[in-house]
């Protein structure tokens, strides 16, 4: 009945051979004890591994995409293979025939966003158009755009309310400031990334390679605009709401444990289209374009309007500007005119 190996510690090693022989009762007990301990050990191991029960083999990538080089070092063939792999994986898990593209920055184009604080009325169409376009998780909810309601005369986003919504907007005496990734020219987020999973591209868009990201969330802590989001769980998107027009560095589906953020809809804008948030905005408060083109709307705005750079003092040099309209004297307002 004795298990020599398991009992070694008890009989031999413990008292240097000088121990009295153990009574039979003792050895049975120690055997039972050992069995229970080993059993508990295996059970604990099993319990620790139990999340594997939920592992969806369909969602796991093939070895190719796990053992590849950094995005910037991939050859055209390697990219093609990788994207085909991702498309197949999307088909397996969503039953959707998506196309994963890789539009490149357009030479001579640097994107800039401008947002008219005099016009935004806080309706949040942008927020949800963005979720839809960029395949953000619906549950738990991930939104790139955060609209902050603040009393007119104050300017403190930290104490503004971004959960407003029970009352009609615009609420008298309040203004609304949508915030999203500012695509900084001097981005703190890319500098803190320990694995170079996020970088700034030639047209000014800061991108993330979701396959390279290790989920340390340093970038989230570094961002002064609260623009980066983390996938705490597997993102959940209804298959019929998946936007099949995807790009590798922007709106392809993410997985648990990676960061994501606004990419100025590069899958659209690098093909000349407008970002989804702009198209959905009913008030026309959102403006987007090429700052290197002097006739573009954003160039006109930067030349002619009063501009606000959010947290200018932190030196991030954002490519996202807020502006105001001048408002002449209003005939029906006492005192004016």
């Amino acid at each position: 009945m004795r298990l020599p190996v398991l009992n070694q510690g008890d009989s031999g090693g413990g008292c240097g051979g000088g121990c009295p022989p153990e009574p039979p009762g003792d050895s049975r007990r120690s055997f039972l004890r050992t069995t229970v301990s080993v059993g508990a050990g295996f059970a604990a191991l099993g319990a620790a591994l139990s999340p594997l029960r939920d592992l969806d083999v369909d969602k796991a990538f093939s070895g190719d995409s796990l053992l590849r080089d950094h995005y910037k070092e991939l050859s055209a063939e390697e990219k093609a293979r990788l994207f085909a792999d991702i498309e197949a994986q999307i088909d397996r898990s969503y039953g959707v025939k998506a196309s994963v593209g890789d539009p490149q920055p357009i030479p001579g184009v640097e994107f800039v966003y401008a947002l008219n604080l005099s016009r935004c009325d806080g309706n949040r169409a942008c927020v949800h158009a963005c979720v839809k376009e960029n395949n953000q998780s619906r549950s738990p909810e991930i939104q790139y755009i955060r609209v902050v309601e603040m009393p007119i005369g104050t300017f403190d986003p930290e104490h503004g309310d971004h959960y407003y919504g029970d009352e009609e907007t615009p609420k008298p005496g309040h203004f609304y400031m949508p915030m999203q990734c500012h695509q900084c020219a001097n981005p703190p987020c890319t500098k803190v990334c320990p694995v170079e999973a996020t970088w700034q591209e030639a047209d000014g868009i800061t991108v993330i390679d979701y396959d390279w990201c290790i989920g340390c969330r340093y970038c989230q802590a570094a961002c002064p605009y609260w623009a980066r989001r983390f996938n705490w769980t597997d993102p959940e998107i209804p298959a019929d709401e998946l936007n099949p027009d995807m790009a590798y560095l922007s709106n392809r589906p993410r997985s648990r444990g990676v960061m994501e953020k606004c990419t100025f809809c590069l899958q659209r804008t690098r093909k000349g289209r407008m970002p989804a948030c702009l198209e959905a905005c009913p008030t026309g408060a959102r403006k987007f374009g090429n700052i290197l083109d002097p006739s573009s709307e954003v160039s006109q705005i930067l030349r002619n309007k009063r501009i606000l750079v959010l947290k200018e003092e932190v030196g991030t040099r954002p490519r996202f500007f807020y502006y105001f309209d001048e408002r002449g004297p209003q005939p029906n307002e006492g005192g004016a005119a």
């Binding site: 549950s139 909810e141 026309g284 403006k287 002619n304």
Partner: protein, 226 residues
Amino acid sequence: MSNRPFEVVISWGIPLVLLALAAVMFWSPIELDDPIPAPVHVDRMSLGAHPVRVAMHDPAAIEVASFDVNCNQCHALFEHDSINPPGLTRHNDIVMNHGENSWCFSCHDIEQRQRLALTAGETVGYDEVPRLCGKCHGPTWRDWQRGTHGKTVGSWKTGDERQRRLSCTECHDPHSPAFAAGIPLPGPNTIRMGKHGAHGDDGVHRPLAQWMHHIIDDAHSDGTDH
């Protein structure tokens, strides 16, 4: 051998407790409250690039008994130039709420209803509404021409054929031009998006504050709202 009972408790107790814990983790009989709220449903139709309203084009017409009738088809039949028509027998669906600008003929041409009136007898068609508005709203018209008021959709590239700039009347009702207030689309609904110090004016980070807030709100309102 004096601490025997203690040893027994240790050597049997700990593995048994561990076994029990492992069983709990494996079969999870306890229903844990899921802090992930259910997804919100948003009318996806409202998220496209649709203009706020459908504007009129040349030749201007209104629907009369389900036929499209041009303004002139009626207005050529009679001469009518009441200075300020209160209680019209027709067009009484029109509600003027344009500040002091309540006179029909500051916009509609008095002779030709198919046209809009600029200054000094000059007229434009309904396709050129911005010029009409521009005669009174100079700065806004200038902004619109530069693209800083209103909206350009389709493409950001100057000269791209997909590019289209919305006309004033695709956003503003000319008779009642102010934007209506409305209930916004749903806000963030996750405990993980709390911004730093969202609910603590004392500067303390309480990521769960919003979550608690909801529970308390729901308890007060018997869960009837949202």
